[in-house]
C-alpha cells in the first residue's frame, strides 16, 4: 500500500494533539522532519506502524478534543503516523457522531431528545435553544458554541439531559441533568475550557433511590464507599473475590459461575459460564477479555451508575474473568457520552495498577493482567459485541457476520470473552459469598438467578436504578419507584429499551424474569422499564424510536439500512394521517418491513428495530387514548 497524502500540513496544535497520544514522529515517513540519513536508507512505517491501527480512535478523540473538529490536514497527519490510507480514516471518522469532519465551534451542547427526555420536555428545551442560540448545528454565541440533538445520554432518571464538550488545550466534557434551555445556554457561554464546572455526579440518591438500604448486593457499595478510593473499596469487601478466585483456580471459578447459572445482562441473556469455558478451552492465543460498557440502549443507565459509583468492582471482576479464561489483556470500552464514568474507571485502573492489583504479578500470585480503557465516539451499534471489536481495532463499527463467534474469533481475531458491566459485577458476589455458585443460584427464580438491576424512568415518581431479586413483578418495581405521579394511570410500559417491547397495564402482574417475559412475548433486554401515563405522546415516542434506528444503523446491510428509513417514513405518514392506501395497508407494510429486518439483517440492531414499534401498533389502546 502506498500512502497518498495531499493538501496542507496539520497545524502545530493538531500535531501536538496527535503526538500527545503517539509520541513524537520518528521519521519523515511518519510525518516528522525528513532526515536523509535515516529515511534515505530504511523503510519506516510498515508493519510497526500498521499494527498501531487500534490507536486510531484514541488519536481522533485527541484531535477532536483539542480542536473541536478533525480537519483534512489533521486526518492526513494521523494517517501518516499510523500508516492508514486517508480514505479509510475518513470512513472511520465519518462513522462516529462525536467526531466532526467539518468545522464545528469548540463548545457543543449535546441535548438529549430521546424517549425519556421527550417525556420530560426535551422538545421545549430544543425549541428554546433554537430561539436563543440558533438552529441545531449552526454556530452561535459569537461562533464559539453550538448545540446538537443527541440520542439517549443514559441519564434518563434525571431527564432532560445534556452533555457538553469543550475543546481546547484543557478539553473538558461533562453532563448535566436535569437541564433547561437557560442552563444549557449559560454553559455554552462559558469560555472554552476555562471556569467550566468540573464533572459532577449530582446526587447519587437521585440516581439510586435505594442507597444505603440493607440487603442490596449489586448496589451495596453505591453511595456508601468512596468510588475514587481503592482503600475504601477494600474496606467494603473489595478484592476478596479475587483472592478467593486465586485459591480456587481457573476451572473452579468457571464451575462456580456456571453453577450460579449467571446469564448475560447486556441483552442477549447468554450463560456466562458457558462463554468463559469456551474461551478457556479455545485454541487461539492470546486471549482477550472485553468489558462492554457502551450502554447506549435508550432508557438504559445501570452500567453508568455502576461505573461511576463502583468502578473498582468492574476492574476486579475483569481481573477474575481474565484469570478464569487465561487472558492477559483486557479492554474496557465505555461509551463516549459517559465522561464521569470514564474518569472514575481510569482512576480505578490507575490505582489498581499502582497497588499491584493489575500488572505483571497480581497479588504476588504470578497472575499477569492489565486493562486498557477505550472510549466510544457516539455509535449505539458499537455495543454489539463484534462491532465493538471493530471499533477497538480502529475501524468503522460494522458488526461481523456470525459464526464464527467471539469465543473463537473475537478481538484482533483471537478468542475473546465479552461481557456486560452488570454481568461482570455479579461475579464477585458469586465467589465471595459462602456457598458460592450454588447459593447464588438459590436466589431469584429457577430460570433467572440472582439479583437484577432495572432502569426505571418516564412517568414515575422516583426514577432511578433499582435492584430487585429476579421474580419481583413489574407492579412491585413500579411501587418501589413511587408509582405514576399525579394520580394518573399507566398506559404503556416499554420493556428492554428501543429494541424491546411495549406492554400494557395488564403486565403489572408479570414477574420480571427471563422466562415470564419470554412467555408473554416481551423481553427484559437491558433492564429498561419506561413508564408512559395516559398523557404521553405515544405517536411521537414511536417516531423517535424509528428515528433512532434510522440514525444508528451502521448501514452495512440492506434490510436494516433501507428498512429503518422506510419504517420511519411509514410512521410519519401515519402521524400525519396521510397513509399510502388505508391505515390497514400501512400496518401490513410495516409488518412486511419488520419481518424482513428481523429475518435478514446481519445483527441484533436490524433484527429488533421494529420490535417496539410493532408491539405498540398491534394494540391501538397503547398508542391512542
Amino acid at each position: 500500500m502506498d500512502l497518498h497524502v495531499i493538501g496542507p500540513l496539520a497545524t502545530p496544535a493538531e500535531r501536538a494533539a496527535v503526538d500527545a497520544v503517539l509520541g513524537p514522529p520518528t521519521s519523515g515517513w511518519a510525518g516528522g522532519r525528513r532526515d536523509s540519513g535515516i529515511d534515505g536508507h530504511a523503510a519506516r512505517g510498515g508493519h510497526a506502524a500498521r499494527s498501531q491501527r487500534d490507536l486510531l480512535l484514541p488519536v481522533l478523540h485527541a484531535v477532536q478534543a483539542r480542536i473541536g473538529w478533525i480537519s483534512q490536514p489533521a486526518l492526513n497527519y494521523v494517517c501518516r503516523r499510523l500508516t492508514i490510507p486517508p480514505a479509510e480514516a475518513y470512513g472511520v471518522a465519518t462513522f462516529y457522531a462525536l467526531f466532526s469532519t467539518r468545522p464545528r465551534p469548540p463548545v457543543v451542547a449535546h441535548v438529549c431528545d430521546d424517549i425519556a427526555c421527550r417525556l420530560a420536555g426535551a422538545e421545549d428545551v430544543c425549541g428554546d435553544l433554537e430561539r436563543s442560540v440558533g438552529p441545531a448545528g449552526e454556530a452561535g454565541v459569537e461562533g464559539q458554541a453550538t448545540w446538537l440533538r443527541s440520542p439517549c445520554l443514559g441519564l434518563c432518571e434525571r431527564a432532560p439531559a445534556a452533555m457538553f464538550t469543550m475543546a481546547g488545550e484543557a478539553p473538558l466534557s461533562f453532563s448535566a441533568a436535569p437541564v433547561d434551555a437557560v442552563g444549557v445556554t449559560a454553559r455554552l457561554g462559558l469560555p472554552a475550557g476555562a471556569g467550566a464546572p468540573g464533572p459532577s455526579d449530582g446526587d447519587v440518591r437521585r440516581s439510586v433511590p435505594q442507597v444505603g438500604q440493607s440487603g442490596l448486593r449489586l448496589l451495596a457499595r453505591i453511595g456508601v464507599a468512596d468510588p475514587t478510593s481503592l482503600e475504601s473499596y477494600r474496606e467494603h469487601g473489595g478484592y476478596r473475590a479475587l483472592a478467593r478466585a486465586l485459591e480456587l483456580g481457573p476451572e473452579r471459578v468457571i464451575a462456580e459461575v456456571t453453577a450460579a447459572r449467571l446469564v448475560g445482562r447486556g441483552g442477549a441473556a447468554f450463560p456466562t459460564g458457558r462463554k468463559w469455558a469456551a474461551v478457556a478451552t479455545a485454541e487461539g492465543r492470546p486471549k482477550y477479555v472485553v468489558c462492554n460498557a457502551d450502554e447506549s440502549e435508550p432508557g438504559t443507565f445501570k452500567d453508568r451508575v455502576l461505573l461511576e459509583h463502583d468502578p473498582f468492582a468492574v476492574v476486579e471482576s475483569m481481573t477474575i474473568e481474565a484469570f478464569a479464561v487465561g487472558a492477559q489483556q483486557g479492554y474496557l470500552y465505555v461509551r463516549g457520552e459517559y465522561p464521569l464514568a470514564e474518569a472514575r474507571v481510569a482512576n480505578a485502573i490507575a490505582q489498581a495498577r499502582a497497588a499491584g492489583l493489575l500488572g505483571g504479578d497480581i497479588l504476588g500470585a504470578g497472575l499477569a493482567f492489565d486493562i486498557e480503557l477505550r472510549r466510544g465516539a457516539g455509535a449505539y451499534i458499537c455495543g454489539e459485541e463484534t462491532a465493538l471489536f471493530e471499533s477497538i481495532e480502529g475501524r468503522r463499527g460494522e458488526p461481523r457476520n456470525k459464526p464464527p463467534f467471539p469465543v473463537e474469533v473475537g478481538l484482533f481475531g483471537k478468542p475473546t470473552a465479552v461481557n456486560n458491566v452488570e454481568t461482570l459485577v455479579n461475579v464477585p458476589l458469586i465467589l465471595a459469598t459462602d456457598g458460592g455458585g450454588t447459593a447464588y443460584a438459590a436466589t431469584g427464580t429457577e430460570g433467572s438467578t440472582g439479583p437484577k438491576l432495572f432502569c426505571l424512568s418516564g412517568h414515575v415518581a422516583r426514577p432511578g436504578v433499582y435492584e430487585v431479586e429476579f421474580g419481583a413483578t413489574l407492579g412491585e418495581l413500579l411501587a418501589l419507584g413511587g408509582g405514576v405521579p399525579g394520580g394518573r394511570s399507566v398506559r404503556a410500559i416499554l420493556l428492554g429499551g428501543a429494541a424491546g417491547v411495549f406492554v400494557g397495564p395488564e403486565a403489572l402482574e408479570m414477574p420480571l424474569t427471563l422466562e415470564a417475559t419470554r412467555a408473554a412475548g416481551a423481553t427484559l433486554g437491558s433492564g429498561v422499564v419506561m413508564v408512559f401515563d395516559e398523557t404521553a405522546d405515544m405517536a411521537g415516542t414511536l417516531r423517535r424510536i424509528a428515528q433512532f434506528f434510522r440514525d444508528e444503523s451502521c448501514g452495512q446491510c440492506v434490510p436494516c439500512r433501507v428498512g429503518t428509513a422506510r419504517q420511519e417514513e411509514l410512521l410519519a405518514r401515519l402521524a400525519s394521517d396521510r397513509p399510502n392506501g388505508s391505515r390497514a395497508d400501512e400496518l401490513a407494510l410495516l409488518r412486511d418491513i419488520g419481518r424482513a429486518m428481523r429475518d435478514a439483517s446481519i445483527c441484533g440492531l436490524g433484527q429488533t428495530a421494529s420490535s417496539a414499534i410493532e408491539s405498540a401498533l398491534a394494540r391501538p389502546e397503547l398508542v391512542s387514548a
Partner: protein, 358 residues
C-alpha cells in the same frame, strides 16, 4: 501453513549462524555466509488440493454431499439451484451485506447468507420457502425503491422473479444537490414527511476522463472498496464513509478522483454490479443513445504492455473498442487489470498517419 514449495525444495542454503551457546554479538558479521539456494531441479507445482471431508446436507429436501468448507451457495450451485447474489463475487472476500441470497436453515433463529455461511453436517437448508421469498422480495424492494437500477440487469431480473414492488413506498424523493449526500453527518437526519421515498439519487460524478461514478446507482455492495483495497489493488483510494442510510462510497474528504489515491486500474468498474462505475466511453455512448450491447463483440486477447500478460476482453462496437474487461476465471488476472491494460487502448484506434516524433 505450507506454501507448496517448501515441502521438498532443494537443499537448504548453507547458512552458518552462531551456535546457540555463543552470544550473537560476539560473532563477526563477515563470517555469516549466505549462498543462494540451488535452482529447483523441477518446475514447482502447486500443492495438491487438500482432501476435504464430505459433508452431508439437505437442500430443499434433497440429500447432498459437498466438500467440507463449501458455502451454502457452492452447494446450491452444485445442485443447480439459482441463488440470487449481488454483493458476492468469486474473486472477492464475501462481505454478506446485500442479504438477497438468504436461505432458511432449520434451527437457526434468523435466515443466513448463502454466499458466506459454510455448510455443517446435517444442515437442512431451504432456498425457496415463503420466509426466504419474503426477505428476498423485501431486500429487492428496498433496493429498487432507493437506487437507480436502470443499468443493473441482474437486479432487475431478481425484482421480477420475486415480484417485488418498489413502487409501494411512494414516489421517489428529489435527488440530492451536488455533494450534499457526502456532507451528511452520522446520527443526524431531517425527519422525513413520508410522502416520498428517500433514495440515493444525486448528480453523477464526472471528474476525470477515464470513468464516471454515478452513485445514484450504488447499492453499497462494498465490491469496489474490496477491489480497490485488500482483495486486489491494495490502493485504498475509496472506502465506505458515513453511517446508516447516509453511508456512501467516498474518497478521503470526498475529493475528486485526480486528487485521490486512485491509480485508475478500473478494477472497481470491473466488479460493480450496477453500472454505478462506468467507463467514460460507455457513459458517453449511453448518453448519446448509441450504446448497444446486442451489436457488440467481445474478443479475448493478451495485453501488449508488459510481461505479466493479462488476458484482456475487448468489447467492440462498430469497430471501436468501447471498454476492456478481463475474465473472472483467468488464472492470471482473476478479472483485475492495471491502468494500461484497462484504459490504454486508444492507440489501437489511431489509424491515421504515424505522428512524427516530437
Amino acid at each position: 501453513m505450507t506454501d507448496g514449495l517448501s515441502q521438498d525444495r532443494d537443499p537448504a542454503p548453507d547458512v552458518r549462524v552462531p551456535a546457540a551457546d555463543t552470544a550473537p554479538a560476539a560473532q563477526p558479521t563477515s563470517e555469516i555466509v549466505l549462498k543462494p539456494a540451488a535452482r529447483p531441479s523441477r518446475i514447482p507445482r502447486p500443492p495438491a488440493e487438500p482432501v476435504r471431508a464430505p459433508v452431508e446436507v439437505t437442500i430443499d429436501g434433497v440429500a447432498l454431499v459437498v466438500p467440507q468448507g463449501s458455502t451454502i451457495l457452492d452447494a446450491c450451485r452444485a445442485e443447480g439451484i439459482d441463488t440470487p447474489t449481488l454483493c458476492y463475487l468469486e474473486n472477492l472476500t464475501p462481505v454478506n451485506v446485500c442479504r438477497v441470497c438468504v436461505v432458511e436453515v432449520t434451527g437457526a433463529r434468523v435466515l443466513v447468507p448463502a454466499c458466506s455461511r459454510r455448510v455443517e453436517p446435517g444442515m437442512e437448508i431451504q432456498t425457496d420457502s415463503e420466509r426466504v421469498r419474503h426477505s428476498r422480495r423485501m431486500v429487492l424492494e428496498f433496493l429498487g425503491s432507493s437506487v437507480d437500477l436502470s443499468t443493473a440487469p441482474a437486479a432487475r431480473g431478481y425484482i421480477e422473479r420475486y415480484a417485488a414492488e418498489p413502487g409501494r413506498y411512494g414516489p421517489p424523493a428529489e435527488p440530492a444537490a451536488p455533494g450534499k449526500r457526502d456532507d451528511r453527518e452520522p446520527g443526524h437526519h431531517h425527519a422525513p414527511s413520508g410522502s416520498t421515498a428517500e433514495n440515493v439519487f444525486q448528480p453523477v460524478k464526472v471528474d476525470n476522463n477515464l470513468y464516471v461514478r454515478d452513485y445514484s446507482k450504488c447499492i453499497l455492495c462494498y465490491k469496489c472498496v474490496e477491489a480497490c483495497g485488500e482483495d486486489a489493488q491494495n490502493t485504498f483510494a475509496i472506502a465506505i464513509a458515513g453511517r446508516g442510510f447516509d453511508a456512501r462510497v467516498s474518497t478521503e474528504q470526498d475529493v475528486v478522483l485526480p486528487e485521490s489515491a486512485c491509480v485508475y486500474c478500473g478494477n472497481c468498474i470491473g466488479v460493480c454490479p450496477t453500472g454505478a462505475l462506468m467507463f467514460s466511453s460507455e457513459f458517453e455512448m449511453r448518453a448519446a443513445g448509441t450504446w448497444d450491447e446486442s451489436v457488440q463483440t467481445v474478443t479475448d486477447t493478451i495485453c501488449p504492455y508488459c510481461g505479466v500478460g493479462c488476458t484482456l476482453s475487448l468489447h467492440v462496437q462498430d469497430n471501436e473498442i468501447v471498454k476492456v474487461t478481463s475474465p473472472l476465471d483467468s488464472s492470471i488476472t482473476e478479472g483485475h487489470l492495471c491502468v494500461k491494460g484497462r484504459f490504454g487502448f486508444e492507440f489501437v484506434q489511431s489509424r491515421g498517419e504515424p505522428q512524427p516524433d516530437a
